[in-house]
């Protein structure tokens, strides 16, 4: 059940109760895996020739990126929605003590190791040395405490024995580790009233709200400077404009919906990720009496038509929350249409004044088409429904269900946790470690969420990118496989660009 080709992490696993044991285990594991690392290194050397000559890593140049979404601010202290553009871009500039890899596993960042002690109430981090902020100052325990002290009053922070120690006032500090991996807990250094320096591979060189972000390679990055010298991201660009700019060599990397992938011209490099987006109807305000209604909706939806026509056969129709590639058991949750059952269920549901309302984000054309299709499918099942663009006007009532795009990661348990949080549905979720070892827990956790009838899965969709010929990346580390924007692993060939930024 583990995801195929899942990258092994050097991050210490969260351990049990013994103080100082985890760090020791990790060290032992690293020592034990040393031969394997050497073997892998040889394998990489062997594979290197398969990297095209034109794609050999090159330092320098500017990577020109365009995307549909817009950012009004670029502040790590303002919470970001998991999977959105901001949460994808912030780690390029701001880092926390820990981070997550593409599989969702917590990995060391500014801390090289951590220990859990005092019955799980204390979390101690040993900081990485020689880490500099973008303003040139060194990071140390004091600067970490200065940056993080005000973020969560539940934890007492202190520097002790060259470590940063978090102590939970009551309860466990177990959740803190994952919190620390979020951009909000990035370690920053205030450089002005509204500006802060991070420690990431890029420094923020310019930000025009809703229009443009300019990032510059940070020479003093502890992990080695990124390939490109500069990263320019233009926001709010339509698909059409992005395609034109890409073909005119005015852009190097564009954001193309997977559903449009088939329509893109053949001359464009188009990496497509695994189906990492879950398209689902979320019923956050569902009452217990609404279960027949949600079940009727579930059985009335023609997922196959939506997949074939609207999704252009990208991804897969599903009745599961997590995709087949991630769990291997998604086929067990059927999503086939049963119109007669849907009609029977809908006949038992009291008719609502004005019908059922299905909301969709007004900026997402795909979800709009899906919502409109759903109204037709529901009508066939005897349910009157209408669509509502979100955000709804002030004063209007919340829609019954909302078409939602949920970005999943390779961390199955973490993805379930994201879904559970989104639904406000406390579910018995498996521990991340145990989920890998015992898929039964994962299955039961997902089944529990589905049984709440607060969510009706429809599709799993991939994300895709358009690349110009200048863009290179190593195929050993498929940076686009999980839909993330890992610009630090991308380089550009020194082919002169024909167009600049207008």
């Amino acid at each position: 059940m583990r995801p195929p080709d899942r990258t092994s992490s050097l991050a210490p696993r969260r351990s049990g109760e013994d103080d100082g044991l985890s760090g020791g285990r990790a060290s032992a594991r690293r020592r034990a895996s040393a031969p394997w690392i050497a073997l892998c290194g040889a394998f990489l050397v062997f594979l290197f020739p398969i990297v095209e000559a034109s794609s050999r890593p090159v330092y320098g140049g500017k990577l020109r990126v365009q995307m549909r979404s817009t950012l009004g601010e670029f502040n790590p202290a303002v919470p970001a929605v998991p999977g959105d553009a901001k949460s994808a871009l912030l780690p390029l500039v701001f880092e926390g003590l820990v981070g997550t890899d593409e599989g969702g596993t917590v990995v060391p960042k500014l801390a090289v190791e951590w220990r859990i002690g005092q019955g799980g109430q204390r979390l101690s981090f040993r900081l990485r040395t020689n880490v500099r902020f973008h303003d040139g100052s060194m990071m140390n325990e004091a600067s970490v405490l200065e940056s993080l002290r005000t973020l969560d009053a539940r934890y007492q922070m202190e520097a002790r024995n060259a470590e940063v120690v978090f102590t939970a006032g009551d309860g466990s500090a177990g959740d803190l580790l994952r919190q620390l991996a979020s951009p909000r807990w990035a370690v920053t250094r205030a450089t002005g009233p509204a500006t802060a320096a991070g420690t990431g591979p890029f420094s923020l060189a310019g930000f025009e709200p809703g229009k443009r972000i300019v990032l510059r390679a940070f020479e003093g990055y502890w992990g080695g400077r990124p390939f490109v010298d500069e990263l320019e991201i233009r926001m709010g660009r339509s698909e059409r404009d992005q395609m034109i700019d890409l073909q005119l060599n005015r852009a190097d990397l564009i954001d193309i919906p997977a559903t449009d992938a088939r329509r893109v011209g053949s001359g464009i490099r188009l990496p497509v990720s695994e189906p990492v987006d879950l398209i689902a109807i979320v019923f956050r305000n569902r009452r217990a009496s609404d279960e027949p209604l949600v079940r009727a909706i579930n059985h009335s939806v023609d997922r196959a038509s939506i997949h074939q026509i609207i999704a252009q056969r990208q991804g897969s129709p599903t009745g599961a929350l997590l995709p087949q590639w991630l769990t291997g058991y998604a086929f067990l949750f059927t999503g086939s249409r049963d119109l007669s059952l849907a009609r029977r269920l809908s006949s038992s549901v009291p008719r609502r004044t004005g019908g059922l309302t299905l909301g969709y984000p007004s900026s997402d054309g795909f979800l709009k088409s899906v919502a409109e299709r759903l109204t037709l499918d529901l009508r066939e099942a005897g349910l009157e429904a209408r669509t509502v663009a979100l955000p709804a006007p002030p004063g209007s009532t919340a829609p019954d269900g909302v078409l939602t795009r949920i970005r999943l990661t390779a961390d199955a348990a973490g993805s379930l946790e994201v879904i559970s949080t989104l639904l406000d549905q406390p579910a018995k979720l498996p521990d991340r470690g145990s989920a890998l070892d015992n898929p039964q827990d994962l299955f039961e956790g997902e089944a529990g969420i589905l049984a709440s009838w607060r969510v009706v899965p429809l599709l799993h969709l991939p994300v895709s990118f358009g690349l110009s010929e200048r863009v290179g990346y190593t195929r050993l580390q498929d940076v686009f496989r999980f839909g993330q924007w890992r610009f630090e692993d991308i380089w550009v060939q020194p082919t002169p660009a024909t167009g600049g930024t207008p």
């Binding site: 088939r262 074939q308 026509i309 609207i310 252009q312 409109e372 109204t375 037709l376 209408r386």
Partner: protein
């Protein structure tokens, strides 16, 4: 109300009435012209809509045909001949055709009625087109109105149908433009006009919609009656309705018919009467101002005119008042040649004649008085003179005929002559007294006391036995004292009592009464004698006028003179056979000039 006021009101009213009538005529004429213009403008809009409708219909036909001839549609038709065609590549075809052809509605439909691609409702792919049953009845190349269901409601569109055939399969291209706010906005409107598109409910129980040039409009209940009429008659109607503010609206409703002459909606050309009301209000206001100005001007002019007209009349009135007040020589100076001038001349002529007549009358009265005086003097002097003449002649005869007895006769005759001379002297003395009435010597006088003394003086005459006179005395004790000349007051009472006794030769009742009043006292002397006729009553105070055989006619004249010198008043009440009452009113504080002596 004075003549000037009436005249002023008449002039102002005439001006105001003229202004009102003029304004009303102007209002009526203007309203008629504006209403006619408004109707013309509505008809122009309706005509413009029809032309635009036809023009756009032809354009829709052309574009639908162009889509049907497009190579990609032919490829879709070819693909339909495959056993299991993949429609996913055509999901956005409808939208792309709509974009390229600037159409609002484009749908590609299979021969079995299932939708391949829809621009207006992309998610409707695979479903059977709701109007497919009508497609067979529609003639290619002819635009038609139809209702189109959309995710957010129902829209009205102008459609055309075209076919693309490949092998055994055909693709139906249904293309159209939406009749919505953009269509309405494309029609040029005059100021004060609005266009609405009424859309009939899409399904039984559904809601009708109203669209204006800004988009979906709120329902307007005042159109309901017009819509009902259009729906019932299925032809153009023109109605006048009132909106929620009470403003009058003229509504020209044009039904929009679809297949089978079914009414799908209506075009409402609405012209507000606000402009008409504004102009009407302006005229009304201007008329009011003109009327007000006219009235003001009328008042001013009227005041000026009436002043000029009525000033001579007022002079005449003033002159008449003066004449009535005794100024008979009053003259009115009016310098005009109109009727008022003639009237003034006549007035002046009248007063001149009055003065002349008065002078002649005074002259005549003066002559008459002198004659009366001469007559009285002759009468008074003749009586003593005749015995004197007889006595002297008797003495002469006695000297001639009887000298012996002459002394005796002389002695008797001398006595008789002396007696007659005394009588003459008495007569002359009375005339002299009347001519020389002394000034009253004012002092505090008790009127009741004087009355009592006088009654005592006349007690012997009152008590005569042959014809007794009963005396009724009512002296008010509250009369108190007054300021008067006691001798003259006593003389007044004496004369009045003597007159009363003379009026009752056969006896009767003598009344003597005093009465206190707020500013003076009243003294009344009455008798129950023969009374006076009206003529006698009017002349009773005239000097030398008497009703008695041996009276001088100066008694009551003296009484009136004394009372007048005291600032009092004397009046007489009498009827023949019912006695006479003299009433004297004396003021406690007589006027400073003491009366009208010398007047």
């Amino acid at each position: 109300m004075t003549f000037r006021t009436r005249l002023l009101l008449a002039v102002a009213g005439a001006v105001a009435a003229g202004s009102i009538i003029g304004t009303w005529i102007l209002l009526t004429t203007t309203r008629g012209v504006l209403e006619e213009q408004d109707e013309q403008r509505r008809l122009t809009i309706v005509g413009q809509f029809r032309r635009e409708f036809q023009s756009r219909g032809a354009e829709v036909v052309r574009r639908a045909t162009a889509i049907a001839r497009d190579e990609s549609v032919i490829r879709i038709a070819i693909a339909l001949n495959q056993e299991e065609p993949d429609f996913s590549p055509y999901f956005n075809s409808g939208s792309e055709f709509a974009r390229s052809q600037s159409l609002d509605f484009v749908e590609l439909v299979r021969s079995d009625g299932r939708i391949i691609s829809s621009a207006q409702w992309p998610a409707r792919f695979g479903y059977r087109h709701p109007s497919f049953a009508l497609f067979g009845k529609m003639e290619q190349g002819t635009p038609f109105l139809d209702r189109q269901e959309l995710p957010d409601g129902v829209a009205l569109g102008l459609f055309s149908l075209a076919h693309a055939t490949a092998g055994d399969q055909a693709v139906l291209v249904l293309a159209g433009i939406r009749l919505d706010e953009r269509f309405l906005a494309s029609l040029a409107l005059s100021a004060g006009m609005r266009l609405y598109l009424h859309l009939e409910p899409g399904a039984p129980g559904g809601e009708a919609r109203l669209i204006d040039s800004a988009g979906l409009s709120k329902p307007r209940s005042y159109f309901r009656e017009v819509i009902t009429d259009v729906r019932r008659q299925n032809e153009e109607v023109v109605r006048t309705v009132s909106d929620e503010t009470g403003q009058q609206l003229s509504v020209h409703a044009l039904p929009l018919r679809g297949q089978g002459e079914k009414m799908l909606g209506a075009l409402l050309v609405v012209s507000s009467t606000a402009e008409l009301a504004r102009i009407t209000s302006f005229i009304r206001t201007a008329g009011a101002f003109a009327a007000a100005g006219g009235i003001l001007l009328g008042i001013l002019l009227g005041w000026w005119a009436t002043r000029n007209i009525t000033r001579p009349v007022q002079k005449l009135v003033s002159g008449a008042h003066k004449v009535a007040g005794g100024q008979w020589d009053t003259r009115v100076y009016v310098f005009s040649d109109d009727e008022i001038g003639e009237l003034a001349k006549s007035f002046n002529q009248m007063t001149s004649q009055l003065v002349d007549q008065k002078e002649r009358l005074v002259q005549a009265e003066r002559v008459a008085a002198w004659r009366e005086l001469a007559r009285r003097l002759a009468h008074e002097l003749k009586n003593p003179l005749f015995p004197l003449q007889i006595t002297v002649e008797n003495m002469q005869r006695a000297r001639a005929t009887c000298p012996d007895d002459f002394d005796e006769v002389f002695e008797e005759s001398s006595r008789a002559i002396l007696a007659e001379l005394a009588n003459l002297k008495n007569i002359i003395s009375r005339f002299s007294d009347f001519a020389k009435m002394p000034q009253p010597e004012i002092q505090t006088v008790d009127l009741n006391e004087i009355a009592r003394e006088l009654l005592n003086l006349f007690q012997s005459q009152l008590g005569r036995t042959d014809h007794p006179v009963r005396c009724e005395v009512h002296l008010d004790g509250s009369v108190g004292t007054i300021r008067a000349d006691p001798e003259q007051i006593r003389r007044v009472l004496q004369n009045l009592v003597l007159n009363a006794l003379d009026a009752m030769p056969e006896g009767g009742t003598l009344g003597l009464r005093t009465r206190d009043e707020s500013d003076g006292v009243v003294l009344e002397v009455s008798d129950s004698g023969v009374g006076l006729t009206e003529e006698e009553r009017e002349r009773i105070f005239t000097p030398y006028y008497t009703t008695k055989q041996h009276g001088t006619g100066l008694g009551l004249a003296i009484v009136q003179s004394i009372i007048s010198d005291h600032g009092g008043r004397i009046s007489v009440e009498s009827q023949p056979g019912k006695g006479t009452t003299f009433r004297i009113r004396l003021f406690r504080n007589p006027p400073a000039n003491g009366g009208n002596r010398g007047k």
